[in-house]
Point group: C2
Chain length 338, copies 2
């Protein structure tokens, strides 16, 4: 049998009922059970469905952003901070200052790109993860509210990221700045570094990419293995594939600045990856980590028991979330200059 | 709702057909497809079944060991080596010498414990992984053919491991020796270090634990998530749970030397973990890695796309296998003394 034939052999996996495991903290158990209960109640978008018009996209995006924003008060209560709205190089940014700044790191900055499939979590909904990063690192975080489709497909987000980065490096050493983000924000973190390499610009001192969306073609194995297993991002087909196409536009989903797995990571700064065993982007994460290691980059992989996609953000009261952001903060401590 | 109630909420995952992914090498694709084809043909033990008598155990063990041994000629053709049978402290060992020894590492040794659920892969079937470790490290490997049930349940395996280790440290510095193993062999690697700590003996210079069986109670989340997904070790219930009970005997599966996840990893030597995204012991691996990090141990986690349990041993012609053992060899290079 030839190789092409072998690829078509499928493995049959029977239906299963996944109990919430006893092997995680009570807080993460509550998150996992809450997601399972929501799925059982038929919550969320219909499976396989994607908006069919710009108007439909905008309606759904507004609804989902409002849901994301609903967690802001509880987050702010646990992690007090100030948020200052501004512009850098014409791009909207929010500077998050945690209640406790570490004076030893006052010369450093973190730059944050929010997740949401390059369509969701714009505006006020963009800073949840930035608040957690600021709290756990004791550093100021500049969260970039990059332009998104349907009005602004690729390369608007990358252009905004580069513009902000260039402005920041005019006043501070690149090696004293780290860049981080989750999901699409993790992908954009990698795309920024790939683009800066192309431009011959100085790269950040370190990167932290959480469950990064690195392969928008949907080829990664965990898209099938963890379909319906992941409680946050449960299926690629439908809405997520729609966001991929909406974002990529004419460039297509195989463009290396859209799907960084097709890029060349040689020369990248030290990078930490975070994911979970239920994460539908477990493979997107692992493949990018392996590609970096193969390119000789200093890379660190952190995987959390029973965690779904980006759940370390949503279960922000869990010890697992503190461990995830603590690892990221320590990684920046080790690799950023003053 | 109280926490106990939340644990009972289940997540429904529909039946699925997993295609062999395009995101791995052709060699690993062939392995994945071969395992899927064997499952489709109804190969392997009946699901949920376990032997009910010592005689049944011995029959099945002999059959499975013969299957494992069948890969030896192909392995030897790719990785030429010599195998010298001997005894150390009354324990049967096989010293594997690869065709090419690295003279810079001549003062070092690796100690190997085979996998197989503490029941399988005894005797001539025990050295497959040792051959790969020897080849990729350029070091001599002492593979320990520890006693196993049904005749010799716990603590015979740990006692044998300790006896061999003590004899080896009488003639060579512990810091110049690394210990490695996969599955039960990874668990025994951790159990040995836990026992040496208890005894106040010097610990190995470094450990490499591949998809280690750290929780024989079956609580890890990937036992359910990757059930029937993993092509090598497809289900915990039945045969594997039977091996766990057979091995643990009167000590029970929660004994920390049976299930090292219940042990205290403080003071452990640097440890590298290897697993795959389809691995049914992904969670056993990740939980032990996290526990080590929490205890302040230098630990490194390597995860491979679409790999099932221990598949880096069985797909020994794949580039992924070479990367896995290359990472382990480099880890020993970095952490062992001369």
């Amino acid at each position: 049998m030839d190789d092409a034939g072998l690829i078509e052999i499928a493995r049959e996996v029977p239906a299963k009922r996944l109990k919430t495991p006893s092997t995680v903290s009570p807080q993460l158990q509550r998150s996992i059970s809450g997601l399972a209960a929501a799925a059982a109640a038929g919550g969320g978008l219909p499976q396989g469905w994607a908006p069919q018009s710009v108007a439909e996209w905008k309606t759904v995006i507004a609804q989902m952003d409002a849901q994301a924003l609903a967690m802001a008060p509880a987050l702010a209560a646990l992690y007090p901070h100030t948020c200052e709205l501004g512009q850098i190089a014409g791009v909207t940014v929010r500077e998050i200052t945690p209640a406790t700044l570490d004076p030893a790191k006052s010369g450093r900055r973190l730059v944050h790109f929010h997740g949401g499939g390059y369509a969701l979590n714009g505006g006020e909904a963009s800073t949840g993860e930035a608040v957690l990063g600021a709290h756990h690192s004791g550093m100021k975080v500049i969260s970039v509210d990059y332009r998104m489709p349907p009005d602004h497909p690729f390369p608007a987000a990358v252009d905004d990221a580069v513009a902000v980065w260039r402005a920041l490096t005019a006043e501070r050493s690149a090696s004293a700045m780290g860049v981080f983000g989750t999901s699409a924000g993790g992908g954009l973190t990698l795309a920024l570094a790939l683009k800066l390499k192309d431009l011959g610009e100085t790269l950040p001192g370190a990167l932290a990419t959480g469950t990064p969306w690195t392969d928008l073609t949907g080829a990664s194995d965990s898209y099938q293995v963890n379909a319906a297993v992941d409680g946050v991002f449960s299926n690629f087909d439908g809405f997520a594939a729609g966001m991929a196409a909406l974002y990529a536009g004419e460039a297509g989903v195989t463009h290396p600045l859209v799907s960084p797995i097709f890029g060349d990571f040689a020369g990248f700064p030290p990078t930490i990856f975070t994911t979970g065993t239920r994460d539908i982007l477990l493979s997107d994460t692992v493949r990018a980590y392996r590609a970096m290691r193969a390119a000789g980059v200093t890379a660190q992989l952190e995987v959390h028991e029973a965690m779904s996609h980006a759940e370390y953000i949503y279960a922000f009261d869990s010890p697992e979330s503190a461990v995830a952001f603590g690892d990221i903060a320590r990684f920046f401590d080790e690799h950023l200059s003053n």
